[in-house]
Symmetry: C2
């Protein structure tokens, strides 16, 4: 019972030296990666960099205790940071104390929402996010995030809240104000990060650029040349405090809190499932919600903004040999040590380097291959991706994901409203009734139509069913055999309509019979009294039994 809600009980029991070795090395590597990333993502969220470090401590420990993934690296991530920025920046000035306090309240709300979803076992909701939607949405968000960092990379001021095209336009008009050092260091950092990622993956690129750029600023006094730097990072661990609960703020933050809860969970569970499948264990998505929810709630008491499991850091954690959530605890401890003793080291770190780290991290999320693949296999799924991508880019990240979900569900409904249909004939060699369009030589029967409707019957397609059936029938037709092998479900509306259709055809001397009825459909029509009314005309027997009659 305890281990159901606290999965750590299980792995702690069997913890051994091998686990320790793998976990410690992975924890160290992730910590080195997380320190610059945490500060960068906090900057992206409109928060002081130190908040990103705070979010890399307590939440990691809570998730390690309660989460069901063994390798997931929880902490600040780009997408959630962008959502925090877009949600809170309408209420307070980015970087201000008020902004920070809203971000903490938001983390608390996200945690409560996730915990409630988990306790009510609503994790399945994430299944309604099609992969095409996730891919289109992620690619668009990556572009928005990348462009939002242009101002740091160029060292200019840009209006907040503008959309992608607005940002590009404003950037054009302000090209004259570019800070040369910001641009130079930023571009060099991007090149370095890409080279290290590709050719020297063992050495963490972010650490290299952070160290080198800080030294350069320090020795050449570049901060006196208008280059913007991180500056003072307060020393010490965050103390316990409650977020400010105000009813008005809660209402205003609710939409973005819901979006973060959902998007964060989705990102987290996708990467957790991928790793779990490789390792042969299973992820319980409701327990994931509990773990993330608790991490965010407790985190919000210790100055952490919303966190979730990240794609790239989890992959690094796994590849570096993490075997249990203990790796994440090591990461958290190393970051706490950093907060206690190393904060001075970040004083000369230029913001343009953090921007470069963000840009390199997010641009690899743009997935053109997936779009091509979907278009090749099934065009409409490719369009779902494009629509989601365009909606996210042109409106906002929250609207984009809603448009994507709506579009993908409409596509699904559309397909079931206009399904594939087939008139069947008998293929003697195989002993099977098959589509006459594909098997033109199949045997047909005198005055008889065998008709297969390839969908569940329900209110939205019963009219189409009737129309198409009417087209197959001519004056000579005396018998219609409906092959119901593909009718998986039927609602009461379709049932009543079908009853009327059979009666109408009866009155025109065309006898409709139903073969291959599935159990659940048979139960349903019997409830409606069809067993007496239509007797041997409906059954779960194959088409052949009706041809002879």
């Amino acid at each position: 019972m305890l281990s159901k809600y606290v999965p750590s009980v299980e792995w702690l029991k069997r913890y051994n030296g091998m686990d320790f070795k793998g976990d410690f090395i992975a924890g160290l590597i992730v910590a080195i990666m997380l320190i610059p990333q945490g500060m960068a993502y906090a900057m992206l969220a409109g928060l002081p960099p130190v908040i990103g470090l705070y979010a890399s401590t307590i939440p990691l420990i809570i998730y390690a205790i309660l989460g069901s993934s063994r390798q997931l690296a929880v902490g600040p991530v780009a997408m959630v940071s962008l959502l925090v920025f877009s949600g809170v920046s309408t209420l307070a000035e980015p970087g201000s104390d008020q902004f920070v306090s809203y971000a903490l309240l938001l983390a608390f709300m996200v945690g409560v929402i996730q915990l409630v979803l988990g306790l009510f076992r609503l994790g399945f909701l994430v299944n309604f996010l099609s992969h095409a939607v996730i891919s289109g949405f992620t690619s668009a968000a990556a572009i928005i995030i990348g462009l939002s960092q242009l101002k740091h990379l160029l060292g200019i001021e840009l209006p907040k809240g503008a959309n992608v095209f607005g940002l590009l336009y404003e950037t054009m008009t302000k090209l004259g104000n570019i800070n040369f050092y910001a641009l130079l260091i930023g571009v060099l950092s991007i090149i370095t990060l890409i080279i290290f990622k590709k050719y020297v993956p063992k050495i963490p690129g972010p650490l290299v650029v952070v160290v080198l750029s800080s030294l350069a600023v320090y020795y050449f006094n570049l901060d006196q040349q208008g280059l913007s730097i991180v500056g003072d990072v307060p020393q010490g661990v965050p103390s316990f405090s409650l977020p400010g609960f105000e009813w008005d703020s809660i209402i205003s933050l609710l939409p973005v809190a819901l979006t973060i809860s959902f998007v964060g969970f989705m990102e987290s569970v996708a990467v957790a499932k991928a790793i779990a499948a490789k390792e042969g264990y299973r992820i319980n998505s409701n327990q994931e919600l509990n773990g993330l929810g608790a991490a965010n709630i407790v985190g919000s008491f210790f100055s952490a903004y919303p966190v979730t499991g990240g794609f790239s850091r989890s992959a690094v954690n796994y590849q570096a040999g993490a075997r249990t959530p203990m790796a994440a605890i090591f990461t958290a401890v190393l970051i706490i040590l950093t907060l206690l003793f190393l904060t001075d080291w970040f004083y000369y770190l230029p913001n343009t380097v953090l921007a470069a780290i963000i840009m390199v991290a997010v641009f690899q999320l743009i997935d053109v291959k997936e779009a091509k693949h979907l278009f090749k296999v099934k065009k409409i799924d490719g369009w779902t991706l494009i629509v989601t991508f365009a909606a996210t880019l042109l409106t906002s990240i929250e609207t984009g994901i809603l448009v994507g979900i709506g579009f993908s569900l409409i596509v699904f409904i559309w397909r079931s409203a206009y399904p594939h249909i087939a008139e069947l004939g008998y293929v003697e060699e195989e002993g099977i009734y098959r589509n006459l369009n594909r098997y033109p030589n199949a045997k047909t029967y005198d005055r008889t139509v065998i008709y297969r409707f390839d969908a569940s019957l329900y209110f939205a397609n019963i009219a189409f069913f009737e129309e198409q059936l009417a087209k197959k029938i001519n004056e000579d037709t005396k018998k219609v055999i409906l092959d119901f092998s593909a009718v998986n479900d039927m609602d009461a509306i379709a049932l009543d309509e079908l009853d009327r259709i059979i009666e109408e055809y009866d009155s025109r001397d065309v006898k409709i019979m139903i073969a291959n009825m599935k159990g659940p459909i048979k139960d349903l029509v019997e409830k409606a009294g069809w067993a007496e009314k239509y007797e041997e005309r409906i059954s779960n027997l194959p088409v052949s039994r009706y041809v002879s009659k």
Copy 2:
């Protein structure tokens, strides 16, 4: 070509004396019914009664020329009148000139929307309105309409815009102000209408109560006792005039115009289809949209408010022997004659009688039987009805229908996301593979699972598919035969996931094979290269071919 867009060309060619006799009598009966109803519904819409008569002239003639139903009786109806009231009363004072001019603009907008929908062949959209939604929505609207007439029946003032419970509460507090004559005449009218409807259906009850009550008011001077009467009805036919086009008004009226276009079309096409089925001709729903659209546009130039085909009048028209749309033209001519010569006769008609006519007309739309039937056959469809009913009653008529559509589509998606599944065994007597739960004695095979998933595979149920499959498999399983006979469609997301699932089971030494693949699914997986990758493991052959392998 002409007859495609102007169906009247067809029936006019073959018009004969028999047609004339049936049409004339039906046209006369409908006119007698329509005169009081037209005035009553105009009152319900917040318009002077004469507007209801105007709406019973030109629109009928235009529909007769362009519509595809031969018996549909177009004109003012209760539901649309209520929508006009709820949409326009937020912009102007009911009964005022401004209110009338908004109602005419609304008729024009409704006409344009319907015509555009018809020309773009979007009539199929009405299929997405489940009968459960229509039934719940109509019952609730009937209650709202009926209660909205309480003020006339009791002769009191009630605040407009209140919801059902507000209205009932306000009525309670004002019971002291009741006008005795209004209540008496109203209740007597209701009783008379019900009795005539039930026992003397040949004589039109509305005509009887209109004549008798007018005489009573005239002889006993009841209008001087505070009884509210129709008063002056302007003589003569409406002259041509353009509705006032103002951008702001158009924007404000757009939501209600869309609702009326859709709801009006739905009501119209439902009754037209029912009559056409009995008469053995077909309704073209796009041509219906063209006909109704043109009727509303041209009507709006001659002071008509929005019209559509009505349930009860169309039934009366049909039963009275109408054979062609000429019947509607006779009705229109008779109403024009009334406007020219008989308007004085309506001076003493009490409003309470019009209220009684509305109440009796709408309360028969409340359909409890349908709700019971749906609950008996399939509970969830009954709930769709209840949800729509409650939403319409508690919020508004426009919101109610949207909630209903949304709920019914969510129910459908929900069902396909958690479909029926079956593990199969061989039933020797029948030579068929059947569900082991229903046929426990069916033969199973060593280390083999035969699994049938009764739904199309798509992004929202592929996770469920995988989960359920995993449950069927134990350590001994070496072979899984997926019976794909019920998989009617598959999207690219499900395809990729299925590919991954097969690979994962391969790596665990469990061989997945797919039998009974339909043509469209086979095409799809071949596009994704499965023919080479999985070769003889996937096919359209029956399960039996895989059992032996």
